[in-house]
């Protein structure tokens, strides 16, 4: 019988251990980078202006 693919749920007690494994995965992924890409919110120029002020970006603000 084919095994079901499931996403796991973690408890607070498991959080540190899973986070450590995730850091190792991320470091491994950086060895031969293709990106990075940002998957998710990408601000429009107007949205950036609203969020970070008239100068438009955190880099400029800093």
């Amino acid at each position: 019988m084919e095994e079901k693919r499931l996403a796991s749920q973690i408890t607070v007690a498991e959080f540190a251990e899973v986070t450590f494994a995730a850091i190792l995965r991320a470091l491994e992924g950086r060895k031969v980078p293709r990106g990075p890409i940002i998957f998710g919110i990408i601000y429009t120029p107007e949205g950036l202006g609203e969020r970070f002020g008239v100068e438009g970006s955190p880099a400029k603000r800093a």
Binding site: K4, R5, L6, A7, S8, Q9, I10, T11, V12, E14, F15, A16, V18, T19, A21, A22, I23, R25, A26, L27, E28, G29, R30, V32, P33, R34, G35, P36, I37, I38, F39, G40, I41, I42, Y43, T44, E46, G47, L48, E50, R51
Partner: protein, 151 residues
């Protein structure tokens, strides 16, 4: 139970510094097949939590949910999230059952695309150094199938 209005919906691939951001999953798995593990309850983002990621950025390993930026985000078309649509349309299911996700009731992707988005969601890395062409196409709004052919 309070119903969630469209303006209350959360983006499940947000940044930690956005107002109201919550950590709801840790992306573990492997480099080739990242797979999110979901928290029973989303955590408030704190400097201590972000410091736990050490040498990598929080968005490389954590998934954050924050209120949808709507018109301030390039993926929002005025009514729907086009990123959610591409996730549901192009990204393969990586799990067979809906993950036990603490933000589903307020998730814009689930609200608009249903469980199809949820079954692809565990493979998503917010800041991804090893994105395959399909993922890059979905993330950037280019034709993912064309991306796949070229890459």
């Amino acid at each position: 139970m309070r119903s969630t209005s469209a303006s209350d919906l959360l983006c499940p691939s947000a940044q930690p510094d956005m107002g109201g951001s919550r950590l709801f999953a840790v992306v573990s798995g492997t480099v080739e097949q990242p797979l999110a593990a979901y928290l029973a309850k989303a955590l408030q983002v704190t400097p201590q939590l972000l410091a736990m990621t050490g040498p990598v950025e929080p968005t490389e390993i954590f998934r954050f949910a924050a209120p949808c930026a709507r018109q301030a985000c390039v993926h929002f078309d005025g009514t729907y999230c086009q990123l959610a649509k591409r996730v549901a349309q192009y990204m393969p299911a990586v799990v067979d059952r809906l993950p036990a996700c603490p933000i589903r009731s307020r998730c814009r992707w689930f609200r608009e695309q249903g469980g199809v988005a949820c079954k692809a969601c565990p493979a998503i890395v917010t800041k991804d150094y090893r994105a395959v062409p399909l993922t890059t196409g979905v993330a950037l709004g280019k034709d993912p199938l064309a991306q796949g052919r070229s890459g």
